[in-house]
């Protein structure tokens, strides 16, 4: 496949992934105490399946279509207003998170252990962004922002990271078996094309 044709296919797959993140974000997995939304799961998946570059792009697109008014954010909320609200930083934090997960897994290997480490650090990145925006926009002290935006989510975050790692690695293996990951089979080639 020539580089231009591969590039077009990757662009479309990335766009479709952005749509898929938006759809998965509406699904909730009922767990005792904390229901987990598909959002975190989908971010991890996009990074695991598409890799750092296209994974990050698809998360960026997800946030853009949400900002443009399509109800793809958690609980069918939408609009730029969600991004500038108190929790907007968490959404923006998904972009560097996806990049980090994709980057780390590309540098190492797509095993559950690596995915778990990557997703855990990714969660911390998301929480740091979210807390920083909360601190600035709500003019809280760092400790108050940490207590309300960071600390309560660490345990849930770890559960989500474990789930995202397991699903990400499983789905990736299956797709690789079905020979569908043309994106990742030619990573060197791809980096030159865009």
């Amino acid at each position: 496949m020539t580089s231009d044709r591969l590039k077009l296919r990757m662009m479309i797959v990335t766009a479709l992934f952005a749509a898929i993140i938006g759809i998965l974000a509406q699904l909730t997995i009922p767990l005792p105490l904390v229901p987990i939304t598909g959002q975190t799961l989908a971010i991890g998946l996009a990074a695991t399946i598409l890799g750092a570059k296209f994974g990050t792009l698809s998360v960026l697109l997800y946030i853009l279509i949400g900002a443009a008014g399509i109800p793809v954010f958690a609980e069918m909320s939408a609009g730029l207003s969600v991004l500038v609200g108190p929790t907007g930083g968490f959404l923006v934090g998904f972009i560097p998170t996806a990049f980090f997960i994709g980057w780390m897994l590309e540098k190492t290997s797509f095993t559950f252990k690596n995915a778990m480490i990557a997703n855990t650090i990714g969660m911390l990145i998301t929480l740091s962004f979210g807390t920083s925006w909360l601190k600035v926009a709500a003019e809280l002290s760092w400790s108050a922002a940490f207590m309300s935006g960071f600390a309560p989510f660490i345990i849930v975050g770890l559960i989500k990271a474990a789930l995202a790692s397991w699903v990400g690695v499983t789905v990736r293996q299956r797709l690789a078996k079905a020979n569908l990951l043309y994106s990742v089979q030619e990573p060197r080639n791809l980096s030159k094309t865009v």
Partner: protein, 265 residues
Amino acid sequence: MMEKMIIGRYVPADSMLHRMDPRSKLILVFLFVCVIFLANNSWTYAILVIYTLVMAGFSKIPARFLIGGLKPVLWLVIFTFFLHLFLTKEGEVILDLGLFKIYEEGLRQGIFISLRFFLLILITSLLTLTTTPIEITDGLERLLGPLKKVKFPVHELALMMSIALRFIPTLMQETDKIMKAQTARGVEYSSGPIKERLKAIVPLLIPLFISSFKRAEELAVAMEARGYRGGEGRTKYRQLSWSKVDTGMLLFLMAVTALLVVFRG
């Protein structure tokens, strides 16, 4: 619900804000988000409240849509209000609850910060209520246009955004169909042990990804067959036009900014 997935929060009406160029609306919102941090006393917040109400009036959007935009963040805003109320320990004590003392400064801060969030949410809601997602995409593409010089793929990004917008309803139906098909095969999504329910995600995701890879291939072939060769020299079906109203609105916001600078303490 499907309709929401296509036009987003857009509410059709014939108003000044609806007719404005998406570029100017995007610039206005961006400036407003920066400018709002200038406000730090009652006067400046009053100016911003008046500005927001005037803009809401221009939009001819029924109030219930604007209030609807506040709902998802309402609890968080109330939460931050109370954080300020209880954590700020400056000024005079206005209420002594024994365990907590409420200080004047805390009340003031709480009100200001909540007001800031409400105004931010209202103004940004006005953008999505008066502009269709596709208009926003076009506006973004044109505004970011200069970044092409530094090799930032502006056209590609806008194209991907249009594709994502186009395929959300399709992929939603697809997801629904797959869930039903798997349920018919005995997969349980809403009952049974947690472990089984978690495992049920995989047979949902695999077909969804496979079908989207196929769709991507089909769309790519269709685009190539129609001669798509990237952004260079591509013409647009939807044209944007900058009018006097757009310039006027920008000047209006600048006047408001000047007032804020004068009145801020």
